[in-house]
Symmetry: C2
Subunit: 127 residues, 2 copies
């Protein structure tokens, strides 16, 4: 059975569709993890965080927009690097606590220059 | 640039490899989000949460093991449902704050019976 987070109130300042906002279950800091996946190859590119406003912008602008926990600001992926994520689809999971964003990634998704943020560090398996 | 969470101390009770534990950046409650992806088709199946011990068990037993935030217990995926996740690979992302677990999923990943937890709820795009 999937895990669930406690529901938290919608951000009243966001114009996110109330029907969508009502289904979101956010962390204590009002965020939902968003998995970015390359729409055609299936590569998992990265995981970012969205609040209601970041999700609203992602749904309405066609550009993947996250909330940066470290910088405390909205972050339109690619605005600095040019490594834009064009949004193809967004889905909410069965619990309302995770987003899957299928994108067309320009260039590298990772700030290290790797295609994905998971390329560099495989962990050893086994007893 | 990817987002980062504050590092938190490793769970002292887990036998997780200290070299791996040192690279994990956990949420305030000691967890790291883990994306489960079907290893051959690329389907993103679900997102769960792991603490050090759940990651240790995932790496060493070959069965994907999560920490259930709602039930406050370890959860070996498929123990109840039979819908097991056999672990093919585990990778840590560039920030050390997200895991990508490639698995071979038996049957449905979602408790609703859907193949993935993202099948049921596409969100509308557009202004």
């Amino acid at each position: 059975m999937p895990d669930t987070a406690a529901p938290s109130p919608a951000s009243p300042s966001s114009p996110l569709d109330p029907a969508v906002a009502a289904r979101l279950k956010r962390t204590a800091d009002g965020l939902v993890p968003a998995i970015a996946q390359q729409y055609d190859t299936g590569e998992v590119l990265m995981l970012g965080w969205m609040d209601d406003e970041a999700l609203h912008r992602t749904l309405t602008t066609g550009r993947c927009t996250y909330w940066s926990r470290s910088r405390g600001e909205y972050w339109v992926k690619g605005d600095t690097s040019g490594h834009v994520q064009h949004v193809k689809s967004v889905a909410l999971d069965c619990d309302g606590d995770t987003l899957l964003v299928k994108v067309d990634q320009t260039g590298a998704a990772c700030h290290t220059g790797d295609r994905t943020c998971f390329d560099a560090d495989p962990l050893p398996l086994g007893p």
